[in-house]
Structure formats: structure tokens, C-alpha cells
């Protein structure tokens, strides 16, 4: 246990008395804090909210349902700095916006978390007017660098201008797109109705293709003076412009060393050497169709010789406005849609969503349900890590031999999902207060075979096969270094954060389900490079296996067969008005669902705090200073899935 961990485990009033650290200096490194075996988790954040209300008298008022309002947007930075330095909420989990057209405001909602001790997140909100021109507020990038992508997303979808964001461009929609698609008054192409179920389906349903009902051009609007037929694009002018002239300006850490070497390997080129070479800087596009980018991600890298000096991401190639679809859907409809976020680990996503809705509805699932959920979620973690390690090896250059070995193992897990839930990836397994199907005896037997024979052997073989491999070590050790304090500041979560020595795992930090009843640990390593991320994943697979084994051993004793639904199964849920931020630990990191209900059949707001998306925020800092070939490996070690990045 290293010193310097600022986060107290439980809210203590004493913290309030301590003089707040003012100014823009980042917090002292909370580095290298091993996961506590049993962290004391704060049940709520009442004490903290009372604290800031007292500290900023007159500025703070209590918000309905959750959190506090900061009444003067101009003073947001001041409050956020105190939240970070005085109250030690060192990570900004989520930023999102909610549109309230009736009040004429857009509410920007922040959730800050203590890392690694966890507890409930602290929620603070700011309201700004909706009108164009007035819809602006200060950026929090200076306090929490991890805010950058999320602010850009809120700007892109809601039109809130964050003054001071270093790169306030559209991020998911394309340049030149007009309108703010997540606002309540925005209508998508082939708009049919505000909410589902649509009335044209029943009782007088006549099949009609959306394309024929609304011909193209009737549903698209263009900015004034824009003619799509005569327009020739200046290819990505904005993204290139944003890359010229701000070399190495890492927001919030102006004097940060760009690269630190961990084990004496892969020492990056010294600057003087590059200066002697007098190389030219060139900008190279990688992707969106590139085998190394795991989907349709586009990296624009600025190179000095072969060394990366700047990196920008162009996202949104897979954007489908999942959140808007979610707000048109009923509460139930959203469950299968969450499978499609991160399609490698659909069951983990489902859990996050049903967890949020269950909290709002006050449903407690039955023990059998909790056991089955843990079983499925941990098997998902194992299969996702198999996948990610396999493809990391692809990125390193071991083309498909390891990947296919691991995909074979993963397939056994997925076969089990198919046999239980009916589908391999799009399981659609969880329900509010329940799951869709129980395991049969044969399926339990198959799970036993996997958990006690096949998978332990497979993980041992993986370890034996790769861990000591000299080429792998040469490519991974010391690459993609991002130290603990900056990982936290960038809101990095998941195995990548734990490889930086921060034992933050939502399963322990903000527990859900029955995780506390099982014996398992959070693996942590300290070198914060690609190799340690790999090792953390291997260890996590073993820990997940431990949980799966315990579940299988205890399930028949502790639970009743067939008891898979708490309360009555329904399809037309009405969720009481309220808000919640539910989060789970998916294999990729913290997946959060910020849900707002107005008491109706449909979510008023359905926001996804996507770990893949936010982890990409730190890619630039991990990559700058390394070679192009390393950037591929670093991206592989982040383990992103574009379905969740672009949503």
C-alpha cells in the first residue's frame, strides 16, 4: 500500500474542514493502491452534498431525485475543483445532458467517483438555456481531462458549448451535420412516432416500408445555403487543422513527461536524435478500414519519422444514435438493444441496464436470478478476455494462431449461452427482476465441465503459451505507459486502470448483485503498460473462474430451481419518476446507465457511459512518443469495441 491515496473509504465530515486545494494543479498521484480486500463503501453521498452546499453557500441547491444544482454555470470549475481536491472524487465517471424543452433548459449532469475506494458517485448538475448562442458553459477539461470526449459528445448531440474544451468539434456525427440529434424536438429520418409502440401496428396494421412512407429528401434537412448536389467536401479539413500547431499540449498536464520507460525496453527515440535527422512531419490516416483498428475506428496520426507526435480519432462510423432509439423504446424494448452496444459482452451490458431500472422500480431479484446473472456475467468476462487477448496478439503480429486457439475456447462458452438464452451474442437474457430462462440440469452439467475442466486448462495453456514469449514481451513491456494519476484523470477504467496500480473495480467499489458473497480478488499490477494490461486480463479470467466455480457449487444449495422472476412478469412497465446512475463492471471497464423516468412507459433519458469510448480518450497520451507499430498494440491493449464507442 503506497502512501498518497487521498480517498477516504467512507465519507468523513473531517474532510470538509481540510482546506481545499485551490488552483489547477492535478491531485497528488493516488498511485499504486492495491485493491482492499473488503472496501468500506459509502452508502450515499449525503455528507458530501451537505458539505459542498455549506461550502458554496447560495450557489448550490438540491436537485430533485439526485445530486445538487450548481446555480451559476460560470462557477462550475470552482466547485468541480473542490469536489476533486477537497472531497477526493478524483475521477469523473460520466457527463451527459438532458433536454427539458418545457423549462427551456438543458441540464448537464456530472457523476464523480472516488478512486479506488468507490462508493456512490457524487452527482452535480448545471442548467443552461436551450437557445443557440446562450447554450454554453465552462469546460471541465482542466479539472478532469477525461471530460474531453464526453463534452464533445454532449456538444455534438445536444448543442451545449463547453468553453475551454481543447477540441470542441462534432465527435459522433459528421462535420457539416446540422441539428442536435438528442434534443427532444429533433426527428430522425423515417420518423414514425415519439414513442413505441407505434399505433400503426395494431389493430389496423398494414405493412408499410418506412422508405416508401417517407421518401428520401422529405426527411433530411440541410443547413441554409447548402446544396448537397453541388457540395464537394474539403476532406476533413477540421481534423487536420486541429492537429497543426498544438503539439504535445496535453490538457491539464502541460509539463507531463510524454513517455516513461518501465523496464528498459522500447526506449523511445530521444528528441535530439530526431532533430539531427531533420525528418518531416507527415499526417497519416489509419482506418476506418484497417485491420488494426478493430472495426471502423479511424486514427489520424502525425508522424515525425516513424514516431507519433500527435493523434486524433475520428469516431462515429458506427453511430446509430442508440440513445435516441432508447428513448423512443419502452423500458422493456431496450434490453435486447443493450446487447448490441458491446457485442462481445452483451450479457454484462444487459445487467447494467436492468440494474438501473430495478433500482428505480424497487425490485429485488430472487437469489436464483442473482446467481444466474453472476454466472453469465463472469463467463462473459472470460470469453471477452479470451477474445481481447487473441486480438492483442494479432496486433502484435502473431497473426491468428493464438486468436483462433482462444476463439475455440470462447466458443464453448458461447455455445452455452446459445443453449440457455437462445442466441450466441445477442442473448437478451435478463429481465427486470429476473432472467428469461433457467439452466436445465444438462446445461448446468455443461457449465460444470467448462468451469472445472475445460476453462482452467485453457487459461493455463494461454499463460504457458504467451506470457513468457520473448517477442511478446519485447513488443509489450514499457509500451503504452500511462501512470496511475493520469489514468484516473482520464477516467480510464477496467483492466487498463488496474494495470496502472489502481484497484478500482465497480464490483467491489460500488457493489451490485451478490458479488460480495463470493471469495475473489481484484488483480492489480503496477507498470501501466501493455504487458501488464495483458497480465491483468489473464488474472481476471482466473478470478472470474473462481466466482463461476463458487456459483456452480452453491447454486443448487442456496436457490430454488425455476425461481427466475421476482414479482409478476410484465411487458408494460411504468417506471416511477426518478433518476439513477447504475454502473457495472464489464470486461472493458465501467459501464454506466444514466436513466431518467418521467413515470411513463418510455425512458425520458437513456444515457450510456461507455467505457470503450471514454478509454479512447487517453489513447493520445498513451501513444505519443511511440512508433506507429506500437500504436496498433496500444490500441489493442485498450480492448475497445466500436459498437459501444459509437453507439
Amino acid at each position: 500500500m503506497a502512501a498518497g491515496a487521498p480517498a477516504p473509504a467512507a465519507p468523513k465530515p473531517a474532510v470538509a474542514a481540510a482546506s481545499p486545494v485551490s488552483g489547477a494543479k492535478p491531485p497528488a498521484a493516488p498511485a499504486a493502491v492495491a485493491a482492499p480486500a473488503k472496501p468500506a463503501v459509502a452508502a450515499n453521498t449525503d455528507a458530501e452534498m451537505a458539505d459542498i452546499t455549506a461550502k458554496f453557500e447560495g450557489l448550490i441547491s438540491k436537485a430533485p431525485y439526485e445530486g445538487v444544482f450548481i446555480n451559476d454555470p460560470a462557477r462550475l470549475v470552482e466547485v468541480a475543483t473542490y469536489v476533486r481536491d477537497g472531497l477526493h472524487f478524483s475521477m469523473l465517471s460520466s457527463i451527459t445532458a438532458v433536454d427539458y424543452p418545457k423549462d427551456g433548459v438543458i441540464e448537464v449532469v456530472y457523476h464523480a467517483t472516488r478512486v479506488p475506494s468507490g462508493g456512490k458517485p457524487l452527482c452535480f448538475k448545471v442548467r443552461v438555456p436551450r437557445e443557440d448562442g446562450k447554450c454554453s458553459m465552462p469546460s471541465l477539461c482542466g479539472v478532469y481531462p477525461g471530460a474531453e470526449f464526453q463534452e464533445r459528445e454532449a456538444y455534438d448531440l445536444y448543442g451545449v458549448r463547453f468553453e475551454g474544451n481543447p477540441d470542441l468539434r462534432r465527435i459522433l456525427m459528421w462535420e457539416g451535420f446540422a441539428g442536435w440529434p438528442m434534443r427532444k424536438d429533433w426527428k430522425e429520418a423515417y420518423f414514425e412516432g415519439e414513442t413505441k409502440p407505434f399505433e400503426t401496428r395494431w389493430p389496423a396494421g398494414k405493412h408499410e416500408l418506412a422508405e416508401e412512407r417517407v421518401p428520401w429528401q422529405d426527411n433530411v434537412t440541410f443547413p441554409k445555403d447548402f446544396d448537397p448536389f453541388s457540395y464537394t467536401s474539403k476532406p476533413d479539413g477540421n481534423i487536420y487543422e486541429s492537429m497543426t500547431g498544438n503539439r504535445n499540449s496535453v490538457q491539464g498536464f502541460p509539463d507531463a513527461p510524454v513517455v516513461v520507460d518501465a523496464n528498459g525496453m522500447n526506449q523511445p527515440q530521444a528528441d535530439e536524435f530526431m532533430d539531427e535527422l531533420k525528418t518531416d512531419e507527415i499526417i497519416v490516416n489509419m482506418g476506418p478500414q484497417h485491420p488494426s483498428t478493430h472495426g471502423v475506428l479511424r486514427m489520424v496520426v502525425k508522424l515525425d519519422g516513424e514516431t507519433i507526435t500527435d493523434l486524433k480519432l475520428a469516431l462515429g462510423y458506427l453511430h446509430r444514435n442508440h440513445e435516441k432509439i432508447g428513448e423512443r423504446n419502452t423500458w422493456l424494448h431496450n434490453i435486447p438493444y443493450t446487447d448490441r452496444l458491446d457485442y462481445i459482452c452483451g450479457l454484462a451490458n444487459e445487467w447494467g441496464y436492468v440494474l438501473g431500472v430495478e433500482r428505480m422500480m424497487g425490485i429485488t431479484p430472487t437469489p436464483r436470478v442473482e446467481y444466474l446473472r453472476i454466472l453469465m456475467a463472469e463467463l462473459t468476462r472470460i470469453e471477452s478476455h479470451f477474445w481481447s487477448i487473441g486480438f492483442l496478439l494479432n496486433d502484435v503480429g502473431a497473426f491468428f494462431t493464438p486468436a483462433l486457439y482462444f476463439i475455440t475456447e470462447r466458443d464453448f462458452i458461447i455455445d452455452l449461452f446459445e443453449s440457455v438464452a437462445g442466441s450466441r451474442l445477442m442473448c437478451n437474457y435478463m429481465r427486470f427482476g429476473g432472467v428469461s430462462r433457467d439452466f436445465t440440469e444438462q446445461q448446468l452439467q455443461r457449465a460444470h465441465e467448462l468451469a472445472f475442466e475445460r476453462l482452467p486448462r485453457a487459461i493455463d495453456e494461454l499463460d504457458h503459451f504467451l506470457t513468457e514469449n520473448d517477442i511478446l514481451k519485447a513488443r509489450c513491456i514499457g509500451v503504452g505507459y500511462l501512470p496511475a494519476d493520469r489514468s484516473v484523470a482520464y477516467s480510464l477504467t477496467g483492466p487498463c486502470l488496474r494495470a496502472a496500480g489502481v484497484g478500482y473495480d465497480v464490483r467491489k467499489a460500488d457493489p451490485y448483485g451478490y458479488y460480495e458473497r463470493f471469495d475473489w480478488d481484484v488483480p492489480v499490477r503496477y507498470n501501466a503498460d501493455v504487458y501488464d494490461r495483458y497480465l491483468v486480463r489473464v488474472q481476471e479470467m482466473r478470478e472470474s473462474l473462481k466466482i463461476v466455480q463458487q456459483v456452480l457449487q452453491r447454486m443448487s444449495k442456496d436457490t430454488k430451481v425455476g425461481d427466475i422472476q421476482a414479482g409478476k412478469k410484465a411487458y408494460n412497465h411504468r417506471v416511477p419518476a426518478g433518476q439513477t446512475y447504475a454502473r457495472v463492471e464489464t470486461p472493458k471497464g465501467e459501464l454506466g446507465f444514466y436513466l431518467v423516468s418521467d413515470g411513463g412507459q418510455n425512458p425520458y433519458r437513456y444515457h450510456i457511459r461507455s467505457s470503450s469510448f471514454i478509454n479512447l480518450n487517453s489513447l493520445k497520451e498513451m501513444t505519443v512518443g511511440y512508433k506507429v507499430a506500437d500504436s496498433v498494440v496500444i490500441l489493442g491493449s485498450l480492448d475497445i469495441v466500436l459498437g459501444e464507442v459509437d453507439r
Partner: protein
């Protein structure tokens, strides 16, 4: 510090073992006529090759497997079970179900029978909510995942003659061939007998039969006639009281499960070997490819 290259050699040893194990399977079963290598290879105890040669071989599907839904026809009454209550259309997340309710021509009151029923499989996301929430067990998920065809443009053009011809030639045996388009099925296109449903979902069917109110045993006789009319071989009797068709099994016996899946005449018999976790289901015969000649 270990010897440089030792880790690589260790790893190559693993590769070598995998290479050898690839052939173990072949040697182990040499001389035995094991018909389904797919079943074998799906077993976690198998250490050799895990792949099979699709489409020559196919993985056995579990009973819970789901694909685009179909409407269940009550073979005893020769009409659909659907009452057009509309729940499936409401729970459908992508809203791919359209139902037109029948009205009594005189009283204008709704009749519990759909006049028309559409499923647009180009929209369907195979989530299974419709089957899960249907209170009448009238819509079920299918198992045939090979519904693609050629050329692509035909999916929405009515192409009525083409579809009609294809029905005659039995080109699209899967969904009879809706009049709307190749992938947009109407009521006739969606309808399949409950015998088919019992075949692909034996345990689901058993539950349904058990839940149904026991009817007088006398009623069973006409059903037994009706069921073979749909093209059945009668299921193998399992229990002492087990009788013929799926409908009659329920009232006659307390035991309900059709022991062997009932086989529809169109489909080949299911594989005999059943792996522990999966019930192999009958696959509808392979759709011929339209357009390729």
C-alpha cells in the same frame, strides 16, 4: 533472466501440441461410423479440431435457439392460434409486426382472429419477446436461419409471380412465401403447424400441453386423425399411456413430453445422438437458391 528464446520455444511447443491434436480426432474415430462430428466437436471434452465444414455439416441447434418467428397453427382446428390481441406487436422492440384485426361484418365488434399478420424479417432482431410474452402460445421462434436469397433487390418487391412460383416449386419451404416480398412475410407465409413447433421445441411444447386444461379423453380421437393429416409420423410412445398426436397427448396422460421429437414429413429426422446440453432439432430442408440456375 531466462535464456533468450526459451519462452518462444515453450510457445511453439503449444502450437505443436495443437497441431498433433488436430489429427487425434481422426484417428480416434477411424473405422467407426460416427455420423455427427459436429456433436462430438462441440463437446468440451474434445481436445482436437473444433471446426466443422459448413454447409456440408451443421452444428446441432439447442432448443432455445431463436430466429425469425412463425405463427402456430392449431392443427386440430386448422386455424391459427393467434387472437390478434396485439401484445407481440407492442413488445416488439424494432416494431416489425403488423396485425390487422378482423371485425365482425355485422356487429363491427372485433373477432379474435387476425385478418392479416405481417412480420418484416428485414427489421426483426430475433429477440424472442413476441414468443415470450404471447399469452396464447400462438407465436414461436423458428430455428431456420438460412433465409437469405438472391438477388437482394427482391426483398420488398412483391414479385408476386416469382413468389407464387417458388411456393409451387417448394423453393421457399421455410416461410411459405409471403405475398408482400421475400423477407416480408404475411399470414400464410408465417403459418406453421403446431406439430412443427412441437418438433423443434419439445420441452416448451410439453409445458404448454401441461398448462392446458385437461380435455375429455373422447376428444382425443379426432385429433389423432387430424394430426397425421398434417403429414406426421406418429411419435414413438414413451410412457405407458402415451398416445399419438401432440394435441391428444395431454389429456390422455399425465405425462406429457413427446419422448422423441415429432417429425414433420418435410424435414429429415433429427440426429439420434443428443449431446447433454443440446437437443438437436430438425432442420427444415435446405431452401433452394432462387436466381442461381
Amino acid at each position: 533472466m531466462a535464456i533468450i528464446g526459451a519462452g518462444i520455444l515453450k510457445g511453439l511447443g503449444v502450437t505443436m501440441r495443437h497441431f498433433v491434436e488436430t489429427y487425434i480426432e481422426d484417428f480416434k474415430y477411424m473405422g467407426f461410423n460416427v455420423d455427427s462430428s459436429a456433436v462430438r466437436r462441440q463437446n468440451p471434452k474434445n481436445r482436437g479440431l473444433a471446426t466443422i465444414e459448413y454447409p456440408k455439416e451443421k452444428m446441432p441447434l439447442p432448443e432455445n435457439f431463436r430466429y425469425v418467428p412463425f405463427l402456430v397453427e392449431d392443427t386440430s382446428k386448422e386455424e391459427e392460434k393467434c387472437t390478434s390481441c396485439g401484445i407481440c406487436a407492442k413488445v416488439c422492440p424494432p416494431q416489425c409486426i403488423w396485425i390487422e384485426r378482423t371485425e365482425d361484418p355485422v356487429t363491427k365488434r372485433p373477432v379474435p382472429q387476425p385478418k392479416q399478420f405481417f412480420i418484416d424479417s428485414t427489421i426483426c432482431m430475433n429477440c424472442g419477446f413476441c414468443a415470450e410474452f404471447c399469452p396464447f402460445d400462438a407465436i414461436k421462434m423458428d430455428v431456420n436461419y438460412e433465409i437469405s436469397y438472391y438477388p437482394a433487390e427482391d426483398y420488398k418487391t412483391a414479385a408476386a409471380d416469382a413468389v407464387a412460383a417458388s411456393i409451387q416449386d417448394n423453393v421457399l419451404p421455410v416461410h411459405g412465401g409471403g405475398a408482400v416480398g421475400r423477407l416480408i412475410f404475411d399470414k400464410t407465409g408465417l403459418m406453421k403447424s403446431d406439430v412443427y413447433h412441437a418438433t423443434i421445441h419439445p420441452s416448451d411444447w410439453a409445458r404448454e400441453v401441461a398448462e392446458r386444461k385437461p380435455a375429455p379423453a373422447a376428444k382425443a380421437a379426432p385429433v389423432a386423425v387430424a394430426a397425421p393429416a398434417a403429414g406426421l409420423s406418429a411419435p414413438k410412445p414413451a410412457g405407458p399411456k402415451m398416445a399419438g398426436g401432440p394435441k391428444m397427448a395431454a389429456p390422455a396422460a399425465g405425462v406429457v413430453v413427446p419422448a422423441a421429437p415429432i417429425v414433420s414429413s418435410e424435414a429429415p429426422a433429427p440426429a439420434v445422438v443428443s449431446p447433454p446440453a443440446q437437443v438437436p432439432v430438425t432442420r427444415p430442408s435446405k431452401p433452394k437458391i432462387v436466381g442461381h440456375v
